[in-house]
């Protein structure tokens, strides 16, 4: 609140409600205003501990900034100048150094690292934290398993400051999986004091208390409205962050969030609709960083299990009937990488996501509809998640209109967040619009969850094809033995198959957009798509 605005609003108030003389603006408040960073988002955390039951994504952000991990990622600068985490380089955090063999990896912990309450951090805490991650169940355990970290026996305390992880199988995802949010270091004694037989891992306590040693501590939390962080000045696991105090306010109305950033009251505005970001960038009063979300795709999923979309020709017809350009303009306002319009329907390189060869071609779509045996069209429903309604709703309306041209009548079905996951699990929705992005930015990792026959929850199309499974498994083993020739053949194999049989039609790769005041620096894009406060600075 700049001084001029404050005085103006005080006089307005005085005039309006005839209050006594306006309070003089104390210098202390201005100075603390400079040291505090305010950012606004649509929804807030429901749990501080990523191991907790049902922790939402804002909850991940709290865990990331308030707990340490053994190691983290380095940084690289992208084409447009914004910094991003570097998938391939790992930097020390709690662990000063580590030596890896093909059987295990041993970490040397920092000697002087302490938890927030000052007690020293030892390997025993690390072991307890890892055991907790693999046994507490739900999402954390599932994420650890993705990197073949499955059994407490793998984690060995060598001495107070050395910790070894034994591999159960060769998996090139194990190392990166150690740098995601889940394997954080928890303060074992403190949590066990609040644990009981019904809740052995103290999940209730860590739900709204931080028992860690990260760069920030939570000073105050009012669920659904505000989180206030204070910097942990005794933090040793990296350069001391520059911002002393961070206030996170939840402002549900997107219009207000934009007004706050434009008027300079908020330093950072997160998760605004694309249209606002596009316009803010043009106006140029604030800086907008847009980074394509690694491994992230918005797609139109077709249910391959039950008719009518188990017919490949019909799926291809639909792939040609999607109004791609209209979606890019009216829904994403250009803030996305198109996944369509490639030269051919075969893999052009080993990266993922990449463009497929389909484009809007109503005539071809009609012809394919006839070949597929649906000359006079069909009736179906198109569903989307109310939680992502800002993109989902206009997208469905455009798709509905263009599918109408080739005889496919659709009714739009708006499903609230609560039972959207429920519906996905049942895998009965014929046609859905959805998004998925994995933390580990490797093609085989994406295909393992979205296309593999094991029919995980992310394989929303329940697409099961022996050949596709073979390609994916072969690619994973090739990566483990870093046999690049086999890896190259198999990755191209499963990408071509995905494009040919198109069980889901990739539409675009969305961007993560953040709007910041000009005096904010040090923003870095991360795989978990949340804010990392430690690198931020306020000039």
């Amino acid at each position: 609140m700049k001084r001029r605005d404050f005085l103006k609003s005080v006089t307005a108030v005085a005039a309006g409600t005839a209050l006594p003389a306006p309070a003089i603006w104390s210098p202390a408040k201005a100075q603390s205003r400079q040291e505090t960073l305010l950012f606004v988002t649509e929804s807030g955390p429901n749990n501080f501990d990523i191991h907790g039951v049902g922790t939402n994504r804002p909850g991940y952000e709290v865990s990331w900034n308030c707990y340490d991990r053994l190691m983290s990622h380095g940084k690289k600068t992208l084409a447009d100048g914004t910094e991003s985490y570097d998938r391939d380089t790992f930097t020390p955090e709690l662990a000063e150094e580590w030596t890896a063999s093909d059987k295990s990896i041993t970490f040397k912990l920092r000697k002087n690292a302490t938890f927030h309450d000052g007690t020293a951090i030892t390997a025993k805490d690390v072991k307890w934290s890892f055991d907790r991650a693999v046994t507490v169940g739900g999402f954390p355990t599932f994420q650890m398993k993705a990197g073949s970290l499955e059994k407490p026996e793998q984690f060995v305390v060598v001495d107070d400051h050395t910790f070894r992880v034994d591999f159960i199988r060769k998996d090139n995802l194990t190392i990166p999986d150690l740098a995601v949010i889940v394997p954080g270091i928890y303060h074992a004694q403190l949590i066990q004091k609040h644990a009981n037989e019904k809740d052995p891992w103290g999940l209730e306590y860590t739900k709204n208390n931080i028992a860690g040693g990260g760069a920030y501590k939570v000073a105050r939390w009012q669920p659904g409205s505000e989180v206030v962080y204070e910097r942990n000045d005794a933090w040793k696991s990296g350069p001391l962050p520059k911002v002393r105090r961070i206030v996170w306010r939840i402002v549900p109305s997107s219009g207000n969030r934009r007004a706050l950033i434009e008027r300079g009251d908020a330093d950072i505005s997160f998760d605004l609709p694309n249209k606002d970001f596009a316009e803010l960038r043009q106006i140029g009063k604030v800086r907008v960083a847009s980074t394509p979300i690694g491994n992230g795709i918005w797609y139109l999923g077709l249910n391959c299990k039950n008719p009518p979309f188990n017919n490949v020709k019909l799926r291809q017809a639909i792939a040609y009937a999607i109004p791609y350009q209209k979606i890019m303009d009216a829904v994403m306002f250009g803030l996305a990488n198109p996944m369509y319009g490639g030269k051919t329907n075969t893999a052009s390189n080993l990266t993922w996501p990449q463009q497929h060869g389909y484009n809007t071609d109503i005539a071809k779509a009609k012809q394919l509809m006839a070949e597929a045996g649906f000359p006079n069209g069909l009736e179906t429903t198109l569903s989307f998640d109310l939680g992502f309604g800002v993109i989902g709703e206009p997208l469905c309306v455009l798709v509905q209109e263009s599918l109408n041209q080739i005889g496919i009548k659709t009714t739009i079905n708006k499903i609230p967040g609560a039972n959207w996951r429920n519906e996905l699990l049942k895998k009965e929705l014929p046609m859905i619009v959805n998004t998925f992005s994995g933390w580990l930015d490797y093609p085989e990792y994406f295909f393992f969850w979205s296309y593999h026959g094991q029919n995980a929850v992310f394989n929303t199309m329940s697409y099961q094809d022996k050949a596709m499974d073979a390609y994916i498994d072969a690619a994973r083993t090739a990566a483990a033995e870093n046999d690049s020739a086999a890896y190259d053949k198999n990755v191209r194999g499963f990408v071509n198959k995905a494009f040919a049989e198109v069980p889901r039609i990739p539409l675009f790769q969305p961007y993560l957009n953040v709007a910041m005041q000009k005096n904010i620096s040090g923003y870095r894009y991360w795989f978990h798509r949340q804010l990392d406060y430690r690198s931020l600075a306020k000039a």
Binding site: T36, G138, Q222, V251, R421
Partner: protein, 337 residues
């Protein structure tokens, strides 16, 4: 008077029981599967079943209802999964926010609507009468969230007069020590003028939005009851005995006309609590309305049940207050009860 209170509570008991049952059924009928929602995006089927058992949602409805009533008896409102807090603490922190907003909204709208109604009633059929009616009706014709958004757009975004719609307090104020939970009162108790001013400024726009929305019903009721009272015999006697217009209008007519208005206040207050939900969403107000809405959309039963029960108890207390107020004003009720 005590007997009247006892009697009023007697009547309230069946409706409270009704509320408990209806809320339970309503929340259980919500389409979402809470277990699936809270198992997280990547949960597998057995993870979800695990959570369903943990939450006890797999037992038959009757058993769940039995356990729910037991918890209720112990004053245990259960745990909110959306905010991760026990529902009771959530309600204790958030109810004063909503109450402060709604009460202030009601007071402001009373201060505007009642004189408007009296003014219109004392000059029936004149231009003033039509003008008051048009202004009051215009207020209620707009959806409350739309009025809120327009006020924010004009007074905050364009003119910069109003403070940022950031909730109850500016960012560098920490809330005053919790005494009543009403920031205005707590800041006065703490003697912090700055704080009082800041929370007052934050209240202006949302209170105005609620007030605009509730002026019409109160003004219309005041006008109608004033018209009826002014046509009655005892006003004619008062005029005939030469009492001054002020005494006739205020002491004689107004006090009688207030009786029906007081009863509609109960109706308008619960009407406002409902509209409050939307205002809280627009002004990021950490009130109980938006809390219930988020829980409802996330099919999180405990907060919805806790919220509705609090509202039901508040409604009973409110009606009791209205009856007592009615008794104070109208001796006939006091004697008869």
């Amino acid at each position: 008077m005590l007997r009247m209170i006892l009697q009023r509570l007697m009547i309230a008991v069946p409706s409270l029981i009704g509320v408990v049952i209806v809320t339970f059924l309503l929340t259980r009928a919500l389409p979402g599967d809470t277990a699936a929602y809270f198992a997280g995006p990547a949960a597998t089927q057995e993870a979800i079943d695990q959570i369903r058992v943990k939450l006890g949602l797999d037992k038959p409805l009757i058993v769940q209802f039995g356990r729910y009533v037991q918890d209720l008896a112990r004053g245990e409102l259960g745990m909110s999964l959306t905010t991760g807090q026990p529902v009771a603490t959530d309600i204790r922190t958030r109810l004063p926010a909503s109450a402060e907003l709604t009460l202030l909204g009601l007071i402001v709208s009373m201060v505007i609507a009642v004189p408007l109604g009296i003014f219109a009633a004392t000059r029936p059929g004149s231009m003033v009468d039509h003008l008051c009616r048009v202004i009051a009706t215009a207020g209620v014709s707009l959806p409350v969230f739309f009025t809120g958004l327009i006020l924010v757009y004009v007074f905050y975004y364009l003119l910069g007069l109003a403070p940022a719609p950031l909730g109850r307090l500016d960012i560098f104020f920490s809330p005053p020590p919790q005494v009543t939970g009403f920031f205005l009162i707590d800041s006065l108790i703490a003697g912090d003028g700055d704080m009082f001013l800041a929370s007052l400024k934050q209240l202006i726009l949302p209170v105005l939005t609620l007030a605009i929305f509730s002026i019409a019903p109160i003004a219309r009721m005041t006008r109608a009851s004033m018209l009826a009272v002014l046509a009655s015999d005892f006003i004619r006697t008062a005029r005939a005995s030469g009492l001054s217009p002020k005494t006739v209008i205020v002491t004689y007519a107004f006090r009688n006309a207030m009786l029906p208005v007081i009863t509609t206040l109960g109706m308008v207050f619960s009407f406002l609590l409902g509209a409050n939900v939307l205002v809280e969403k627009v002004f990021a107000w950490p009130g109980i309305g938006s809390y219930a809405v988020e829980a409802l959309v996330a099919s999180d039963f405990a907060p919805v049940q806790g919220f509705v029960l609090t509202m039901a108890v508040m409604y009973v207390v409110l009606n009791l207050l209205i009856d007592i107020l009615y008794g104070v004003v109208d001796p006939r009720v006091r004697i008869e009860a």
